[in-house]
Amino acid sequence: MKRNTRILLIAVTVLVCLICLSNAAYIIIQGGGMAGLYGVNMERAQWNQEVLGLQRFIFWGWLTAGLVFDALLAVFMIRSLLGVRSGILFPKANTFILMAASAVNLVYNICHSNIGIVLHSERLFTIDNADLLLPLILLAFSLIYGIAVRVSEENQLTI
């Protein structure tokens, strides 16, 4: 691998990890504020008995899926970087990480789009095209990544 590509990969990995960390911090702070744990200026959840189940699902789905998605992306980038260093360009476990990330991202996007149900007791549940697009692209990428893993393994056993 070219030196410039390696430096670029390290820079992208650092950037992704920083964005994931800041996003995770934002989710924790915002989630705590919504739950009324601290801060009078934070927007709090308006729990409504009629849609409490849906509100809980959206709140916890948004919180956990957001954190898990950030963690998965950071792990994916770090594993890719370590793989390049050790000579394994396509680590097998990354395929499963990408598949899991696409599923988690679907939950996160749907919950994030409907966070108004928790914050303002809205009654409208929406699913946008954009909510589905990124998880589907991630899924397609994970399938292509799986093919790359097999080709890489085959290549390593070619003497």
């Binding site: 085959e154 056993l157 070619t158 003497i159």
Partner: protein, 72 residues
């Protein structure tokens, strides 16, 4: 796999060690071991050529086809 690699036989006939052959061919002993144990999925023509040159033999002396029975 139906393709058998007979490097061990050729090495015994030539009284050559695996390490010596790996050095002559220009591959690592680990890769030569993969080849000898039949774990390799493919062999490059350049590697085959180097093996034939080092062992002074034909590709047919190194590689052999044995049909696998359906019971296996």
């Amino acid at each position: 796999m139906a393709i058998i690699v007979n490097i061990d036989i050729m090495l015994a006939r030539r009284k050559m060690s695996s390490g010596e052959l790996a050095a002559k061919v220009g591959i690592t002993p680990a890769n030569l071991s993969i080849l000898k144990t039949g774990k390799a999925r493919a062999i490059r023509f350049t590697t085959l050529e180097a093996l034939c040159r080092a062992l002074d033999c034909q590709p047919g002396d190194i590689l052999e086809y044995r049909a696998e029975s359906s019971e296996e």
